[in-house]
Subunit: 231 residues, 2 copies
Amino acid sequence: MNIILASTSTLFGGNYLEYLKEELAKLYQGIDEITFIPFARPGGISHEAYTEKAKDFFNQLKINVRGLHEFEDKKKAIIDAQAFFTGGGNTFLLVKSLQEQELMTVLKTNIEQGKPYLGCSAGSNIGGLNMKTTNDMPIVYPQSFDCMALVPFNLNPHYLDPNPDLKHNGETRETRIREFLTQNNVKVVGLREGNWIRRWNDLITVEGSELTRIFEPGIEPYEVVPGTRLS
Amino acid sequence: MNIILASTSTLFGGNYLEYLKEELAKLYQGIDEITFIPFARPGGISHEAYTEKAKDFFNQLKINVRGLHEFEDKKKAIIDAQAFFTGGGNTFLLVKSLQEQELMTVLKTNIEQGKPYLGCSAGSNIGGLNMKTTNDMPIVYPQSFDCMALVPFNLNPHYLDPNPDLKHNGETRETRIREFLTQNNVKVVGLREGNWIRRWNDLITVEGSELTRIFEPGIEPYEVVPGTRLS
């Protein structure tokens, strides 16, 4: 497999996908066209406008982008695709859309065959075992929380450290993930913005500019440096 | 109906339920014993310890507390109960637990008969139409997102305003609720900490120390003052 699962598409103060440009040139080496999956985005931007945004970026790399929503037969479009990119938004909506159109399995199979895959945020969540560690609001009810299992763990994109100044009683991200571990025997990678998971064949590492916080059942959370193998 | 759905159990720097004491004395007037529903709490505190915490507080009001987990026949315990309190934690876990034990409907019926009900955070979410506006992480998969509909809208407990200083690309609470509205024709009450919803027979108001942010399909979000009728 040849995949990147990124915490975020955009760094604070940066442009869309800018910080990943060098990595994406490697991920999509030899590719003419990427099939973009826009289904995570519930409002504010149409599937067309979202696809245009991706297209604008990939123009720089001389790669064309087509939105999966443009194809009548979406399964065939996935089978015919050279490479994929799933944009961020709401993971519940993304998973429900893929399930209803019966696209999750065919997408997984095509990525496992070696077609390059980029996920950002919600698009990264679906690369994990399941979506039970998303930060998103459950605005729609999916048929199940199972995802593509492109990596043998779960992700928490946009991982955020507790803010000691916040006079608020909501749970911290760490508390939420610890609660997940009481109910699930699954490792969780807390992926801070600026970081991504890179899978190349069987080698899975975490990359980027920040430390990454790992949560495993039965042990205290710990930090790993960029370049660390994750399995 | 005679209910309080509170944003949080505890204000920053305060003690458990302290800020609600006067209201709770009115809610539970004439009640000897409250049946406490501890199922939202996934870790860190057992059902017993969680019930003890509620018991400690209600001692001050000379009201006994028994945990629903203590009863073998929980349906009968709900039917026999004088009043209820559902504590906070994870809404997915709470809803799944109530569904698996087939307790949601019997609880709803008993509250609709006029038995006092207090919910905090997750315990408030289940008073809404559905749990699709919870902030919680989907650590388990419930049979559905439907809740008790004790009020004709949804709640967002611990409602939090955007932090302009945060250099982070995750969605704000407002963005999340707007996304919900693209998929659901349901009003959402953004309940800041310090506020609660009070239902007394057919009168539903929002009370507390803060403004409350209301989200409705098709119009811009707006703020209402304490004492405002919500339907």
